[in-house]
Symmetry: C2
Subunit: 134 residues, 2 copies
C-alpha cells in the first residue's frame, strides 16, 4: 500500500477499535513514547498510561459510544503523519486530528484531539455505529 | 538552548504574534508544507494559504484577541515536536496543541488545534493581554 492508504487504514482501525469498545486494539494502536491526547472538554493527557486509562474508562463505560468518521485527509512527511477527519459522536460533529509516527513499519498514534464544530442541519443524521462515511 | 527551551520559545513567539496582531510574524512561524489548523468551532483548514488567510481575518479584526498561555508541556522526538498548553482566550480556557517541525534549525508550526475545556472558577481570571502565565 502507499503511505496514504496505510495511514488511512490505521486511522480506520482506530475508529473501529473505538466503535467496538476494543481496548486491546486501542492499546496496540497507541505508541509507547511521546504521546498526548485531548478528548473533547478534557484537559490534555500526556503519557501512555494516562491516555490508555482514559480509553479504558470510555470504552468500558455502560454504553458504547456511537462514533463514525469521514472526510479523512492524510498529511505524510517522512515517518510523521496526521489525519484530519470529521468525527460524528452521538450525532455531534467534531474536527479530529490524529497524529501518527511510523515505528517499525507501522503507523502508531502519538496524538489525538477532537474539537466540537458546527455542522449544517442536513449533515447531522446519526450514522450506524462504526460506519465509515467517506 | 536545549531542544525544549528552543521549542518553548517558538511557542511563546506564536502567542506573542497572536496577542500583538502581528500577521507578518505569524507568516514566518508557520511552515510552508504539510500544515493544518483547527480553530475552535471551525472545520479543519489544510494548507498554508487557507491557514494564513484565517489568521489574517482573526488578527486584523476590529478587536484584538485577548490571549494568554500557560502550563506548556514539550514533547520532542527528533525533528518533530508538540507543545500542549492551556490557552486563555477572552477569559475562556482551551486545551491547545501546537505541532512543530524543525526546518533548517528552526521550529516551524505545522499544526494548531484548540479545544474548549472547563476550568475551575478560581482559574478563570482574565490575564492582561499577551501575558505568559507559567
Amino acid at each position: 500500500m502507499s503511505d496514504d492508504s496505510e495511514l488511512l487504514a490505521a486511522n480506520a482501525a482506530y475508529y473501529r477499535a473505538f466503535a467496538n469498545g476494543d481496548f486491546a486494539a486501542m492499546t496496540r494502536i497507541w505508541a509507547e513514547e511521546g504521546v498526548s491526547c485531548v478528548h473533547p472538554g478534557w484537559p490534555a493527557l500526556v503519557g501512555h498510561d494516562a491516555i490508555l486509562e482514559s480509553y479504558r474508562g470510555i470504552l468500558h463505560g455502560m454504553n458504547r459510544v456511537r462514533i463514525a468518521h469521514r472526510d479523512d485527509t492524510a498529511i505524510v512527511v517522512g515517518d510523521e503523519a496526521r489525519v484530519l477527519c470529521v468525527e460524528i459522536v452521538e450525532g455531534a460533529a467534531l474536527a479530529a486530528t490524529n497524529c501518527y509516527r511510523r515505528i517499525d513499519g507501522a503507523w502508531r498514534m502519538v496524538h489525538h484531539q477532537a474539537t466540537p464544530i458546527a455542522l449544517a442541519a442536513e449533515e447531522r443524521e446519526t450514522p450506524p455505529r462504526g460506519q465509515r462515511l467517506n
